[in-house]
Symmetry: C2
Subunit: 363 residues, 2 copies
Amino acid sequence: MTHDGSNDNPGAPKVPNVPLAPNVTLEAIARAAGVSPSTVSRILNGSARVLPAKQQAVEEAIARFNYRPNVLARSLASGRTETIGVLTQAVSSPFYAEWLRGIEESLSEPGFTPIFVSSRWNIADEKARLEQFIARRVDGIILLHAQLDESTLTDYSRRAPMLVLGRSVQNSATLAGLPIDNMQGARDATHHLIEQGHREIAFIAGPASHEDAIERLVGYRTALEEAGIGFDADLVEQGDYLETGGVAAMERLMARHPSFSAVFCANDQTAYGARLAMFRRGVRVPDDVSLVGFDDLPTSSYMTPPLTTVRQPTYEIGRLAAQGIVQMIRKQSIALSPIPLTLVTRETTRRITPPVKREDTRT
Amino acid sequence: MTHDGSNDNPGAPKVPNVPLAPNVTLEAIARAAGVSPSTVSRILNGSARVLPAKQQAVEEAIARFNYRPNVLARSLASGRTETIGVLTQAVSSPFYAEWLRGIEESLSEPGFTPIFVSSRWNIADEKARLEQFIARRVDGIILLHAQLDESTLTDYSRRAPMLVLGRSVQNSATLAGLPIDNMQGARDATHHLIEQGHREIAFIAGPASHEDAIERLVGYRTALEEAGIGFDADLVEQGDYLETGGVAAMERLMARHPSFSAVFCANDQTAYGARLAMFRRGVRVPDDVSLVGFDDLPTSSYMTPPLTTVRQPTYEIGRLAAQGIVQMIRKQSIALSPIPLTLVTRETTRRITPPVKREDTRT
DNA sequence: TTGTAAGCGTTATCAT
DNA sequence: ATGATAACGCTTACAA
């Protein structure tokens, strides 16, 4: 294990796996095959026909030396990196995971490689990562929930076409937003609860700095108003899109305003927290309180009971984004219509038979 | 916001966002600052002292043109890409997420950029991804659960130092394994159940093709034998590390062998599935059956009741791996001791008071 | 300290 | 169809 290379023992057994020589270059292959570098390049890229004989000689040399073209040199010369920068807010979030999967799978077809980085919800990081993308000369950029202001994004989009998910921007040839209809989703969810007879419906909000969190709050209010139920600020608690925030918000809610019969959470992680807080207090779901989330994380269907929630087709959204950015790179026009969200009714909501507690006494 | 650049109105406020000109090169900066390219390069890399006056002139030019060095050209010339290839089996798995986070955070300090790709548990993909890394001339490779055989890995490690997580390999200067003590973790978990008075402990296994899944099974058996409890193949069901597999396995188990008082699952996702299957059948956790998982996914502490499980310090493991690969790149020797796993006792297990059902009648 | 010039490993434009 | 040859944008001896 300490010695290597120039083995002067002729009787030693041949190593089965061809060693990958460190710096085989295209030129070396050309020499070995007795052709010019350009011919090798042409074969590699299929950019022109070459004589079968030479083709074969080159292929043999490639196999023999275990040659792999240097992507860097290729990109430098061609000006194309076949690379897409994907900026997420958190690589490790269960929420982004499916997006990444969709993006990766759909990008591999046209031969692009995604570069995933995360900005950890930090706007300075977000900018730094974007600069890195530029420095790497990515062919395109996909942003998952950008926080930077639109004019900054527009600036960067001059360097590489950019597609922003979950955010609406002024579309142009190099900057496009794939909007997601959070408002409608939240309205549907709240409406479902109302239909089930609920009147006192609490809401645990997401961070006010998030566009989608606000849209979800608006959807909640809209449904309430449409049903002629007044919006009660007392029924709204602030969360942070994380489980811990859900726990805390739910505890405050139960302490302050214990009469609600349903809770709508701005996202699933919040709902997990809220559900645990209720469990701790012996509040049963859905028997005592109905619970609805938002996102439909993979785990949500395995909660006990399985969570009723608003499903975002994240994987599909990821695929759409990938296809979109490739089209933009190819300077094809794209049409991005807002992604509709659908309510998935599972087992955390139930119909309230005597319609509303308050009216209970009169019925 | 709409106008930019060459502003000939001296009284107008400076535009905050300098437009990012495409294709500014180091040479252009050199010309603008009246110095040679090498001087600019030196300033960029801090590789030598330059006169403050020139330094400033260059910095101004860089700012004015919004220049960003081309990483590709730099890497091609220097032979270093400052890039680490990270191969996961599934980007979107909640399990890998934390590893990625640890790797990313710890890699950014020494200035490396991770490139995440996934092989989707497909061995052909795994190989293809590795080839891509080579083609990209990554400085190092981190493998999360390699499936390829060791000699293949050794071959690739000749091109770039390689660190494999969750798998033991013959360590060398360019190939190292960071072993995780699955056996011990599984033994502890089973032992805990035994201590609580359980005797009929079922096990839902992971895929037999996974080294760690086998180790966990061995840990389970070991604890049983140490306690003088015979191993009963009837109590073992095959899972697949996914929730669906957990559901199915648990259903088979309940149908076939309903007397067990505890279930140990090869991973948390399996436990989620098992828990749901029990919920459907009205089997209470932990009142009727105790449940233990393995991994401690972020969600597990928010299950109801919170899941008792074996915690893998994934984030920390990710950090260790990142530090390790950087050391290998710098040709420093590294010492990797097996990562110990710890049981996190939460609320899905409970003590059985009349020790064992079978002995119940005699006492 | 600073500049000149030769690579780095490809692709792409010309000729032939 | 094939081969020179000049980029691509940077780093890095080597000189000065």
